[in-house]
Symmetry: C2
Subunit: 507 residues, 2 copies
């Protein structure tokens, strides 16, 4: 399978995804993984520019929906956590009292949390009186301040976000963008006067996620997570998962509805127009550099990255051909460069003294959507030869090139969307279901295949879910946003239900 | 001095700078200082936008000069420091061997350094085998990677930068933007094939600093720091200091020439075109949120901030007057808004249902350069009433308003520059010099006044400098970039010298 061309690039075949992915992130110069702490990569300029463009899309959505950008400190004193602990205790008590378990968190959050963070215990040579941790996410520091900012209904809704580095003491194997210890993180946090306000926010978050994923040409499964995978302190958690080509799902966005569950712990109350003190309702919406990991993993191929035009650091590369033969070639190249830049495109002129093949090779690895060649013969025909990273070459007139480029980039985006959908859809199959064996035990009708996601109707109990996960070795993503149109039998209980769910191997 | 208007704003008079500064940063909503760790402020949207605009100016300069943006990890394993320690030891040995002391660092960097950083000692519940510190600056992590990236002369020059959070375990009193524990930091690091390359980089850095300070309307003193204030491992350090209105100097930018002093410690060598292995030469250029602190401190007044147009989050606020009387007012306001936005201005329409006085009041506090009122009478005259934050109102025709606005903003920038220069110049005075008292001891001719910077000719030894600092209670900034045109007697030795220096109370 490995042609000499590929061997030269040093890129493993994408069919070997687990070898291809870690190789391509370095070959395409997104990151350097040789920093002496595993899971803390160095962002190279090309990777950082791609990420900044993704951040730009997130900021666009935030501006459109009236969120304001703040920046909170990285370090959180341990004693602020007491408030979180109080919350968890309260929820436990409610559970003990027999309240609807879908409204509760059941784990010991305190110890779970403390195991996952980095701790600063010394300033200079002094032991700190109160240790501080590096934020894994910012509920605690933000809510501490929100309590100072919110007095009356006029202060609500409060819609904030930040894009910052967060940290996780990761003990599993790290993977660039997918599982790292210093995380480039986006988090939006909102506060509302009532549950309806938070409900509407969750709707808005869902739309923003779809808008962002549309720009990244990524299809996703949106699910309401099972209660045991709900974020600590949340009433419910929804998540968007991207199906990677190896059949594993990658959670790229989550949004949490907290109802008023944090209000008591953090004294988050407000005075309504009638002078009554009321608890605040809250939500969180998080994304991270995993979005870039999903882009790399879904769109790339044997020849390198394929960048969606929305986040390609270079959308169009222009290559002069035989410029020494005809000096008008360079003039024409820079004219086109100027036109395209003025129209807002990200353009690069590659006038290196290299043969065209070598240049194509480089820009294929980087996944530049459009490569434009202009040589002496093109000047005669007043046109240029344009190659799309998704395949195909055509001669395009220089007159009206800006409009043509716009159309070609849109075509590439559409092509990426349909390819990605095809890949993802091809990895989802119907759950085989169970039969009784000779001893009367439930066994899978067919064995679970590695690298596939299974769709099923599921309306069972928590212990049914546990049995399902155990027998398949996969994880339930939760209730899909798109239920079945008509009831079908639950894969476990046989009871009719419209609850569509997926089980998969998650990253 | 305090009119009722000022009392209402709650802004102390700027003549009481040390009360005014900490008040205005919160009143103008740049930061919130109530986060439970001193020196770690929460950036509010208005402050963050201002800072982002400063970052934008720095990025513009970096792009112009061919620097590429990277992002290195925050955490640095302690053992990487061994390399720095080796460097310091080497320099000590050189000093002991009687090498030119201007090329050496004399302090115990290791212990000094360890006292100034935060230490991560635990991941989850595990003690880390190798403690990690939060970067105070990134020489160590960057040079570790540079050694992997640089092989041959073709890899040079390497010009990198990043804009990140850095940390300092600060034991002195903290002040927003000026002395903080989590620092919004800019750092450019370059590697060159020879000393001349690094020399040229230092020149380029000097020009960039002046370009940035010009945009911020800030005059500065540029000095080559005395050897004892040279950055660890540097051959020499140059710094730009802004004179604050209270007569203290604020170091806002430094650039360091390392020569090849780090090459050995970090194995930073390259193969020249003839195949010889040679040591790399390096430089660093650093700035921080102190730039915003200088802007606030220098330009603000009794009524609030005064934002230089280059970094004003809102350059022009448009206020409709009596829009209920004539609905065409709002139409006209939004037309102007659209025109100004299309021309690239940052504009805000304040259509709140408040009386104009209250609106002016708010935008004065925020330091918006231009306030535009459009009311029914203005529609008749096809003009608007424009107030500049630096003073003065005039009626400006709506026809051609974009050009007028551009000119008015430029006028405000010039006005801020000349005002700031006047303030700074007014705080620099001639050093009184010494006389012998009845016992033959050198004593100051006149006492040192609080809140002034003294200029003097100084060509003495290190111990002369120490005596000078001790007798005045001030700090030598080092050799000014502008020496005296003709030799004058050194304030200590009396020997003629052109070395112009300043002594001041530094932040």
């Amino acid at each position: 399978m490995s042609s000499p061309k590929k061997a030269k690039r040093g890129i493993p075949s994408k069919s070997e995804f687990n070898a291809w992915y870690p190789a391509i992130v370095e070959i395409a110069d997104l990151v350097d993984k040789r920093y002496p702490i595993k899971g803390m990569d160095v962002w190279k300029p090309y990777g950082l520019k791609s990420m900044n463009l993704i951040d730009g899309i997130a900021r666009r959505e935030m501006a459109r929906t009236g969120h304001h950008e703040h920046r909170f400190p990285l370090l959180v004193p341990e004693d602020l956590l007491e408030k979180e602990n109080r919350l968890v205790s309260r929820l436990k008590a409610a559970r003990a009292a027999g309240v609807d378990p879908s409204e509760l968190r059941i784990e010991d959050e305190e110890s779970g949390f403390k195991k996952e963070v980095y701790w600063v215990t010394k300033g200079g040579e002094n032991e700190l009186e109160i240790p501080m941790f590096l934020r894994p996410t910012s509920e605690t520091p933000m809510y501490t301040m929100f309590a100072l900012w919110i007095r009356s209904h006029a202060d609500l809704p409060l819609k904030t976000f930040q894009i910052v580095n967060t940290f996780r003491y990761e003990t599993k194997q790290t993977r660039s963008f997918i599982r790292v210890r210093e995380i480039h993180f986006f988090e939006a946090h909102t506060v509302h006067a009532d549950k309806e306000g938070a409900d509407a926010q969750i709707e808005e978050d869902a739309q923003m996620v779809q808008s962002i994923l549309h720009d990244l040409c990524l299809p996703s499964l949106v699910s309401k997570r099972p209660v045991w995978d709900t974020f600590p302190g949340a009433w419910f958690t929804k998540a968007a998962d991207v199906i990677m080509p190896n059949g594993r799902t990658l959670q790229v966005a989550t949004y949490h509805h907290y109802k008023d569950q944090w209000a008591e712990a953090f004294d988050l109350t407000f005075e309504d127009p009638d002078g009554n003190t009321k608890p605040c309702h809250q939500t969180t919406f998080g994304m991270s550099e995993r979005l870039l990991g999903a882009v790399v993993g879904m769109h790339g191929d044997d020849y390198g990255l394929v960048m969606p035009p929305s986040i390609a650091p270079i959308q169009i590369v222009i290559m002069p051909i035989a410029q020494h033969v005809n000096p008008n070639v360079l003039t024409s190249v820079y004219e086109l460069d100027e036109q395209l830049r003025s129209a807002g495109f990200r353009v690069h002129v590659d006038d290196r003294d290299l043969r065209p093949g070598a240049k194509h090779f480089d820009w294929e690895i980087k996944g530049v959507p459009l490569r434009v060649e202009i040589g002496p013969r093109d000047l005669e025909s007043k046109s240029s030869l344009v190659s799309a990273r998704t395949g195909g070459k055509q001669q395009i007139a220089l007159d009206g090139f800006v409009d043509s480029a716009q159309q070609l980039l849109e075509t590439i985006s559409s092509e990426l969307r349909s390819r990605a959908k095809k890949v993802a859809d091809g990895l989802v199959c119907a759950f085989p279901g169970f039969i009784k064996d000779e001893n009367g035990n439930s066994v899978l009708k067919e064995p679970i295949q590695d690298g596939l996601i299974y769709e099923l109707a599921f309306d069972g109990s928590d212990s049914d879910a546990e049995a399902l996960e155990k027998s398949t070795g996969l994880t339930l993503l939760g209730d899909a946003d798109m239920p079945f149109p008509d009831p079908v039998p639950c894969a476990i209980t046989g009871n009719p239900t419209t609850r569509r769910q997926h089980i998969a191997r998650m990253y």
